[in-house]
Symmetry: C2
Subunit: 232 residues, 2 copies
């Protein structure tokens, strides 16, 4: 599998001591490949060796950087969560400021989703892998709830807050349950399993993120209003 003592230059004497070409990126290089594999197979469906092989790196290095497989998984999850959270908060704050009194449920949902779509559409493979991971985690009974809470709660709370200003008479339970429906619809979309392609006989495509967003915003907004703002 490995050729122990290769020396491309073939020049004799000292082993030259070049710490490879770009050692700076090793860590994120491992993260990228781990992300791609975890997205497809989940935590238990991936071995440290597979990650190492995909990243063309020694298995021991993975442990050097992340200690355990769970540590690796967590690091992968953490990396883009930080970025995404910041973008979403800024997007929602920006929208709220710009909209002022004209704030709408549609606008809030759109601002909440916008940063995701910016990364996923048309096609950033890294982010798309990450989003698949989120979908898997979100539906994992054992530790999924805890993990989602730990990484995303502040952003969700901000969304709820914003939605409350649109629907001042809404009850908390209704707002949270409706967010839960949004969360399910969103993460299933992000997992792009190809199910809808088969079901629809090709009329819909899992990868058509634009088609999804165009319908998700009005769908979710109408649902929120129906439940949180009953006609009474």
């Amino acid at each position: 599998m490995q050729q122990p003592n290769r020396d491309k230059t073939g020049r004799r004497g000292r082993p030259v001591r070049r710490p490879a070409v770009v050692p700076v990126e090793t860590r994120s290089h491992i993260l990228d490949h781990a992300e791609a594999l975890f997205a497809l197979h989940g935590l238990h469906g991936v071995t440290v060796r597979e990650v190492a092989r995909a990243a063309a790196v020694d298995p021991a290095l993975v442990h050097y950087y992340f200690e355990t497989k769970a540590g690796l998984f967590d690091a992968v999850f953490q990396r883009r969560a930080a970025i995404l959270n910041e973008e979403r908060l800024r997007e929602m704050d920006g929208y709220a400021r710009a909209a002022g009194d004209r704030i709408t449920v549609e606008g809030c949902v759109q601002a909440f989703l916008e940063p995701i779509w910016r990364h996923s559409y048309p096609n950033d493979p890294h982010w798309n892998n990450y989003f698949r991971m989120i979908a898997l985690v979100n539906n994992t009974p054992e530790w999924g709830g805890e993990m989602m809470t730990r990484h995303f709660d502040p952003v969700i709370q901000r969304l709820i807050e914003l939605l409350r200003t649109c629907m001042p008479r809404a009850r908390d339970a209704d707002l949270y349950w409706c967010y839960h429906f949004l969360s399910g619809a969103l993460t299933l979309s992000l997992s792009r399993t190809g199910r809808i392609d088969r079901l629809s006989g090709g009329v819909c495509a899992s990868d058509d993120m634009e088609a999804i967003l165009r319908r998700m915003v009005p769908f979710i907004a109408a649902g929120f209003r129906q439940v949180c703002q009953p006609a009474d």
Copy 2:
């Protein structure tokens, strides 16, 4: 699957051949415990030995009945799908017949969900495990789409058909995408991860299926109408 040589009467002549006390149930006994484990950890998170130990059965027996781990997973998935599909078809047909011209989007969605809720609420641990498995499969990129299609498509097509009679001018793509949102919201609910409990500070409970249904039906119905029946 088959019990070749059973002889309940024990009448003489032949060596009686009573294979233990209750051999009839071994297969479904294994299925039950596999179901509980797969629901929590997914296909890759469970070993054949763990299933065998949980079922208090020899590991080789699992292979005897199901050949491979994937075969076991599939058998678990199959078992209740057959039951559920039949119940859902009957529920939807019954509703459509009873409603006649007064058919509504709410009614269709309710009929579609009703059989699930009958099993999950208040508490049938077996069915609840099964529903968690569905949620996991539904969000599994690799083979999840294929598996959902294989087991559930006819029922979904029937739902779409019914919804089309409520919204005759709806376009297919809109109907399918809206079903996709429904599917995501539903399966996330079925996975009961505890996320919403944490997020809401205890205002909502993952296990409160009645609270979910009460909101899901109007939420989803309003979404469908908004997207599939634009005011134009």
